[in-house]
């Protein structure tokens, strides 16, 4: 059985009600009496800020919004014991936050053995993988602007999708598995899948298509799973 705590009493009530209403979904959670590092921490969007979370211990950070369901809750309990950190948030929150910096910041707060320069090195490829998950996965947008007019259209489409619950309520999930000489990070979206295409190995001449190139240049792209909804990156370090 996993234990949880939350930053807000109303979240505790919401989670308790969800557990009671879904006895057949395998949701087996209890509230922590003493918060510990293997807990699930339930938060709202406004709580997701590094400084605010510095003193909290948790293994999973879960944003609870109006779309959060018992199925999401059950997902928290199927996490591999090898996972050091898991963050599960809405698309809207992932778009508004610099999620890679935040996620690496959480790992650093947990005293994992990498320095600020290494964190900087990991930041961009992870950011690009998250952008793929948010933009091409959950929001189902193609990056195809080539001039100011098409960029304005793209920007409007993006803003519209972020207002549409069928896209904006989809989740983005990050997990980190810290090993002796590498960190394995997975980024998962809930889009239709197959939105990744490997670059041909040369710099594209068109304005888009550099995200995956950056990932493959600056990290080890381990591969894709779940029809492309999950991308796995490895970051190697020696210190």
């Amino acid at each position: 059985m996993k234990s949880y705590h939350s930053l807000r009493p109303e979240l505790h009530e919401q989670i308790t009600a969800m557990i009671r209403s879904s006895p057949g979904d395998g949701v087996d959670l209890r509230m922590s009496t003493e918060p510990n590092s293997s807990d699930i921490l339930f938060v709202q969007r406004q709580d997701i800020e590094l400084g605010r979370l510095r003193d909290w211990q948790f293994e999973q950070l879960i944003e609870v919004d109006s779309s959060f369901s018992a199925a999401n809750l059950a997902g928290c309990l199927r996490v591999s014991p090898l996972v050091t950190l898991r963050v599960d948030i809405s698309t809207l929150c992932a778009y508004q936050l610099r999620l890679s910096k935040f996620f690496l910041g959480l790992l650093t707060q947990r005293s994992h053995p990498f320095s600020p320069p290494l964190m900087q090195q990991f930041d961009l490829p992870l950011h690009e993988a998250i952008t793929n998950a948010v933009i091409h996965g959950n929001l189902e947008l193609q990056s195809s602007f080539s001039d100011l007019e098409s960029m304005q259209r793209y920007s409007l489409n993006l803003a519209e999708r972020l207002q549409q619950p069928q896209y904006a309520n989809r989740r983005v999930t990050l997990t980190a598995q810290v090993e002796a000489r590498r960190i394995l990070v997975s980024v998962t979206d809930q889009g239709p899948g197959h939105h990744h295409a490997f670059p041909a190995g040369t710099v594209p001449s068109q304005p888009h298509g550099r995200g995956l190139l950056i990932i493959s240049e600056q990290a080890e792209l381990v591969g894709f799973e779940d029809e492309g909804r999950t991308s796995k990156l490895a970051f190697h370090f020696s210190e």
Partner: protein, 101 residues
Amino acid sequence: MNYTSSTANGGLDIKLNGEFTFADNEQFQAMVKGIISSSAKSVVLDFAALEFIDSAALSMLLVMKDSCDKARKNLSIKNSNGRVKEVLNEMKFAKFIRITP
């Protein structure tokens, strides 16, 4: 990302600072429109204080280049450093926009 612009010798000098991602697209569009409507024949983006740039921001820079080409203005980038410089080099960005030290 924040930016300040000034004119010098008939050209525009735009200093960018902070992190440049697609989240900055609205102010970036305003920046491009400001460049196009100005009488400046040359535009220099000063990246000295830019700390982070992603692929979407690179795409936006190519949109700026396209707008400058159409308006017959010269666009260049100067003073990039650290991770931003590495990304521009890795993406061979000098093929598209003139980069000076």
